[in-house]
Symmetry: C2
Subunit: 348 residues, 2 copies
DNA sequence: TTGCAACATGTAAGCGCTTACACAGGCGTT
DNA sequence: AACGCCTGTGTAAGCGCTTACATGTTGCAA
């Protein structure tokens, strides 16, 4: 009975290192060394092992490897969503970097929900990842506790240190957003609406909003609560927010948006209201994803170094894992990108 | 010396199942059962174990678990790129489905390159994934050999069986593309350009192109080699292709594109040439990603059941893994979505 | 020739978990 | 009262690999 069942699932048992050793006429230790540290083995022996490996179609068993070496060669990443190309692409850059080093990427999404993130975090740690990449710095102390208790190397992307002792690889969201606001002001706008992402639990959104409001206020443009909308990051949310902001009597002449998706949504909303961009309304985004140049007029936005952050995260994490020492944090700059969606307000 | 080094890396050794067993006053087998099959353990015992687990902060060691159970609870997915939201979102749906069952997702991208895919495939198998999701059906016999030799459950997404005995979860690309062509013809277009993705190694692109050309030909519209451009799937490629197709003397009045990204690129190209859409030129896409409604006019396209494919892939793979039997393939329908980018040609 | 590195390989002890099997005790049936 | 069965738990044998240590070889200096 039992052998029957077994036969159904695994007609032949996969070759083990022992099979290879036997066929090559060496010990399992030598096979292991041949595969992992080839330079510690005589060429002749190495060849014999290689032949045996090929003949049997041997691949090391992952579980055995992990158990014995205490390494999974796996890194985890938890991002808010794959729906936004900015994260998806950063992830791809990370994965490509890791692939060069034979490390694989475990991914999960949090949907911008801290509890979700924590669940995923736990799962990843249980999977024994050697390192973890997370977006942003704002999360529960508990989450950080889990991380540090396990002594797992981790990198925080997208933000720069808030005096945190952790490895961060990011850019100054506040400053970048402030520059957008400054440019909008420079074009002469005074009635300005802001479409921000949800700020709770999201330090990037918070930082950007802070950059915007403080810059505007410094210029004497004070935003009322009805001038700022916080919403989720979808086209529909952006559109709805724009419609609301534009429905009042004293309509804004410019909409500063928390990211390109919201901005594209806002543009769609404005269009539906019969407004012309940028003649009747200027719109700015943030991220500079492809979408920014796919819409018309193209979006004024901020170019976020997403691929570089993804790639660097991979490099630094691997460095940390190998050396046992936390590497230096990294701060990139985000570049303002001027395009046609921003223009002076029509004299009205 | 040795203990020094150890101390540096791991001040406290992580608790093992044995520590838990000792503290709870039971055997390791009972701890294991408490955790994996709680209903086989008396409540009282289970509680004792739970208390011990909490007290020690115990998490099962992944390597040990894998080695003993011959299961990694990990599923791999190899997609062409994360850059296109259609795949990123499908992946997210897959991941969410798996998360419900405590299974994690390993991801990799192939950049539409079969060799790349095969490398990634090997890596994933070496990681001992319990199942694999791949896009499309066209790949080397060798790739299929690897898969079947290892007897790893795998699902092919996005296409429907080409008489393949494998688990496929897809839709009829040919038919969907044919419908697009039919609609374009219905609107009266006769001068038609096609911007297709690269067709080699890409059965979806091939199928779509076939659907388009055969439908057009059946209506007496014969495409010359200069009317069809095959390019990569970026906005820029779409734009460049459109410029080329639109630069000739007898300009097409409609452009049928292999996906929404190409279509958005084509729209941008047309705009730069001073053409008005849809008055001067109709454009159609494929996928119905957010981008399709972010551009103006909104794209006529085909709604691809990407989330459902992702989710179903997860379910069927898990089913296969658990039961040991390959589940039935699944065929979804792809719905034509009419929007403003398609209109009759201007009488010129 | 001898002694001693340096190198190549083998031996065997785990790594932490799951699970087949054995066993004890309680229950219902005959 | 004897029997068999079910339930709950323990015992212990692996799962396949890495690696510290031991052993055997070789080459070279003394």
């Amino acid at each position: 009975m039992k052998s029957d069942t077994e036969a159904k699932n695994r007609p032949y048992r996969l070759p083990t290192i022992e099979d290879v050793a036997r066929l090559a006429g060496v010990s399992t230790a030598t096979v292991s060394r041949s595969l992992n540290t080839p330079d510690r083995v005589r060429e002749e022996t190495r060849n014999a092992v290689e032949v045996a490996v090929k003949a049997l179609g041997y691949t090391p068993n992952f579980g055995g490897q992990v158990l014995a070496s205490r390494r999974t060669n796996t890194i985890g990443a938890i991002i808010p969503t794959m729906g936004n190309a900015i994260f998806a692409t950063a992830l791809q850059a990370l994965q490509e970097t890791l692939a060069l080093r034979k490390v694989t990427l475990l991914v999960a999404t949090s949907q911008y929900a801290p509890e979700q993130e924590q669940v995923q975090l736990r799962t990843m740690l249980a999977r024994g990842v050697d390192g973890i990449a997370l977006i942003g710095t704002e999360r529960s102390a508990e989450a950080y506790d889990i991380l540090t208790a396990r002594q797992v190397p981790f990198a925080l992307l997208w933000s720069i240190p808030d005096e945190l002792p952790y490895l961060t690889i990011g850019f100054d969201n506040t400053r970048a957003a402030a520059e957008v606001a400054r440019r909008v002001l420079e074009f002469g706008h005074r009635r300005i609406g802001v479409i921000s992402g949800m700020t709770d639990g999201n330090d990037r959104a918070t930082a950007r909003l802070r950059g915007i409001t403080s810059t505007l206020e410094a210029a004497g443009v004070v935003l009322g609560p009805e001038d700022v909308i916080r919403c989720h990051y979808t086209l529909e949310d952006g559109e709805a927010a724009a419609r609301r902001l534009l429905s009042g009597a004293d309509r804004p002449t410019a909409l500063i948006c928390g990211n390109d998706v919201l901005a594209a949504g806002a543009m769609r909303g404005a269009r539906h209201l019969g407004l012309n961009i940028p003649a009747d309304l200027s719109v700015t985004g943030f991220d500079d994803i492809d979408l920014a140049t796919a819409v018309s007029p193209a979006l004024t936005t901020v170019r976020v170094p997403h691929k570089r952050m993804g790639a660097s995260a991979g490099e630094r994490l691997l460095e940390w894992i190998d050396s046992g020492h936390q590497p230096q944090s990294l701060s990139y700059s985000a570049e303002f990108v001027f395009r046609d969606s921003l223009a002076p307000p029509s004299s009205g």
